[in-house]
């Protein structure tokens, strides 16, 4: 193909286009959906009965922190999906590590106060509803983020998927922890944290499917 062939194709196809918003602004567009998920999960079920005893900071405060962290990581994923704005390896590792560590830190902060629920690791089936609720709660944010990713041009699809999938998982978990009052470590890791990881993997799979180079 010669340069003039490319020019002919471009000329035939050329029409004004509106550039995408910056990644942070696109992530902020998800804010109403994030609020709906965080508040919707306990509203659809019930708020945990120990909410008052836990205190505002440890209940709502930590959920807000977790959902904002999720939103920030989604923004990083959307940034990663723009050519030339890929994250450096160090930033990528830090973002993923913080994203994965944050729910564990939050569980730990909550577990110090209460110790309700299955105490043994073998009781993983008890409370599977939490895993399912978390994954289902993540679906709306996953779909919206997938739409935003599809409109961009992710050159590193796995990295992009990891980031926005992890962000969606954190947002769903922020809502789930306002509903689930089990606070034992086995339950938190096997049901809640595994749901965050599952959401991250879903992000990778979905990005692999939807994010083909523009044709």
């Amino acid at each position: 193909m010669k340069g003039r062939d490319v020019r002919a194709i471009v000329e035939r196809d050329l029409r004004p286009v509106r550039p995408l918003w910056p990644p942070s602004r696109r992530a902020l567009a998800l804010l109403p959906l994030v609020i709906a998920v965080v508040v919707g999960v306990p509203l659809l079920h019930y708020f945990r009965t120990d909410l008052a005893a836990l205190g505002f900071v440890r209940s709502w405060g930590l959920s807000v922190v977790e959902s904002l962290a999720g939103l920030a990581i989604i923004a990083l994923g959307l940034r990663e999906a723009v050519p030339g704005r890929a994250l450096r390896a160090f930033a990528l590792v830090i973002a993923s590590a913080v994203g994965l560590a944050l729910p564990l830190v939050i569980y730990r902060l909550t577990t110090e106060t209460f110790n309700v629920g299955p105490l043994s690791w073998s009781q993983w089936r008890f409370g599977m509803a939490c895993f399912q609720t978390s994954v289902f709660a993540a679906v709306p944010v996953l779909l919206a983020s997938a739409f935003l990713t599809k409109r961009a041009f992710p050159t590193r699809r796995v990295v992009t998927g990891i980031l926005w999938g992890l962000g969606c998982g954190l947002i769903a978990d922020a809502g789930l922890r306002l509903y689930c009052e089990f606070t034992t470590l086995p339950h938190m890791v096997l049901e809640h944290f595994s749901a965050v990881v599952a959401s991250m993997l879903l992000g990778v799979v979905i990005t692999g499917v939807i994010a083909k180079p523009p044709r």
Binding site: V6, G84, P214
Partner: protein, 180 residues
């Protein structure tokens, strides 16, 4: 770049003019093939055009275009590797089919030869097998059978001629059967 996003072809020309040579050098440094570098450069500009809305106004154009160029090269390399794997698999498959066919053909041929040998007279068949299969000399055959050397040669020769005749008739029938 903003003018290009607004749909002006002259703006595309300007971007192409400014970056084509650098993109080509970049592709050449990656693939080390001048002709392929030309193709990848054109593909880069096509891909740039298709994804032009991902450009953020106000940001430098070069990193954006070079990220696309690198992606185009990696996609090409992946596609090539996939094609080579596919071709290797097809070649291996063809080799395996050939081996199977050769084996089957050899069995069929041996069967035909056995059948044709039955039609060769016993004295000629004996001389033929002793010479052509077991590798005996005509003098050894003559001594063993108690005949002259020339007689041994004649029996082996006539046996071969008859065998060849049987085989050619059989292969002719086989070919006709195949045609039907």
């Amino acid at each position: 770049m903003e003018a290009y996003l607004n749909g002006r072809i002259e703006a595309f020309d300007a971007v192409y003019e400014a970056l084509a040579a650098r993109v080509r050098r970049f592709q050449l440094s990656l693939c080390r093939d001048a002709s392929l570098a030309d193709d990848l450069t054109q593909e880069t500009f096509l891909q740039m055009h298709r994804s032009r809305r991902t450009y953020e106004p106000g940001r430098p154009v070069t990193p954006w275009v070079f990220a696309i160029a690198r992606h185009v090269y990696l996609m090409h390399r992946r596609a090539t590797a996939r094609r080579l794997r596919f071709e290797a698999a097809v070649a291996a498959d063809a080799r395996s089919n050939d081996t199977t066919r050769d084996g089957a053909q050899a069995l069929t041929d041996a069967d035909h030869v056995r059948h044709a040998l039955r039609d060769v007279p016993a004295d000629q068949r004996q001389a033929l097998l002793m010479h052509h299969v077991h590798g005996w000399s005509f003098a050894e055959i003559a001594t063993r059978l108690g005949i002259r050397v020339n007689a041994a040669k004649t029996r082996a020769f006539r046996g071969i001629r008859r065998l060849r005749g049987h085989l050619s008739r059989r292969s002719g029938r086989g070919a006709k059967a195949d045609l039907r």
